[in-house]
């Protein structure tokens, strides 16, 4: 249980584990990815970093691939005075996201779109969250519309993620951060190196062994230019 001094918090992330916080029937009816171990690891990681998030006073937070919407709704319930945007390629996920936000009395703008391809962000975003489709599959599988897009990640499980990485720097503000779920076979070392080339430092927030694989939550921050 986390007590927040500045904001009056009525919810902690723990409550998002509670199935009464999202509509499981709607989720199953619309065939949307159900909150699972990776979702909960991401929630744990964000909660562990919550003091930093609040201290950074984010004005705009965006989640890509929001799915059921429990992650961005958890933050929106706790960190007030911030504009929230959720993006998903699956229209059904967008509908469940809307329902989850409404059930928890939070306001989230939802856009049915492919990654950030329809956005012009000009460094406006303070925090981007992505639990990508990280499962290793055939590349073609990533193109099949529907629930498989929530997990099918192509070669090394990196195909979709690698499409996003080059645009992150221009989407994020100077103090912007990027929170990412990754699995050991995504090649964490290479991921750190790629992100370093795009101007980000990496830290590991959480590691958990799930079904024989190591699942990570990584936090990337823009590198400070020396002398500033």
């Amino acid at each position: 249980m986390l007590i927040l001094s500045n904001n009056v918090a009525t919810t902690t992330f723990d409550e998002m584990y509670d199935k009464s916080k999202w509509n499981i029937n709607l989720l199953r009816e619309l065939n949307v990815y159900e909150p699972s171990e990776d979702t909960f690891l991401l929630l744990d990681a964000l909660e562990s970093d919550l003091e930093n998030i609040i201290a950074s006073k984010p004005r705009m937070v965006l989640e890509i691939g929001c799915g059921s919407g429990v992650v961005i709704t958890a933050i929106a319930s706790v960190v007030k005075d911030c504009h929230y945007i959720a993006v998903d390629i699956n229209p059904n996920a967008c509908n469940v996201m809307k329902n989850t936000a409404e059930m928890n009395k939070t306001h989230v703008d939802i856009v049915n779109a492919d990654l950030l391809k329809s956005f012009r962000l000009n460094s406006a975003i303070d925090m981007i969250i992505f639990n990508p489709p990280y499962v290793e599959t055939e590349d073609e599988e990533t193109l099949v519309a529907g629930i498989s897009q929530s997990w099918a990640g192509g070669a090394k499980g990196r195909k979709i993620l690698d499409e996003l990485l080059p645009v992150l720097n221009s989407a994020l503000s100077l103090t912007g951060t990027f929170y990412l779920v990754a699995i050991s076979y995504n090649d964490i070392e290479d991921l750190e190196k790629c992100m370093h080339d795009y101007g980000f430092n990496c830290s590991v927030l959480k590691i958990r062994q799930i079904l024989g694989e190591l699942l990570f939550v990584l936090k990337f921050s823009k590198e400070r230019v020396i002398g500033r």
Partner: protein
């Protein structure tokens, strides 16, 4: 913040036109400090023209006023247009091709087909 740049042959695709067929007003608490901090993040001209297209520009002006942080009425109109006005049904329109992106249940569908890429 949305663009149709990903359509084939579209150079800028911004700003998108907007048509509102059904608008819902969702009241939300006005927070002066938050709105003041949010304004620098907006592309003001686009925000103003979007609000105007749907008839919710209120006292907002094409050029942002200099001392907006001290003008509570102005900030309240920004809050209303930005936070409370929800376009429930409508469409966004690409300025170059007129391709329409439908807004259904408040959610814009920006997905494009393979042959539009």
């Amino acid at each position: 913040m949305l663009t149709s740049r990903c359509l084939k042959g579209v150079v800028t695709g911004y700003p998108l036109g907007i048509v509102a067929k059904e608008i819902k007003i969702q009241e939300s608490e006005f927070n002066k400090d938050f709105i003041t901090r949010l304004i620098p993040k907006l592309d003001w001209n686009v925000f103003w023209s979007t609000a105007k297209q749907i008839g919710y520009e209120g006292s907002l002006t094409q050029q942002i006023i200099a001392d907006y942080e001290n003008n509570e009425n102005f900030l309240k109109d920004v809050h209303h247009a930005l936070v409370e006005v929800d376009i429930f049904e409508g469409e966004l329109i690409c300025p170059e091709t007129n391709r329409k992106f439908p807004i259904t249940d408040g959610i814009p569908n920006m997905l494009i087909k393979d042959n539009e890429l």
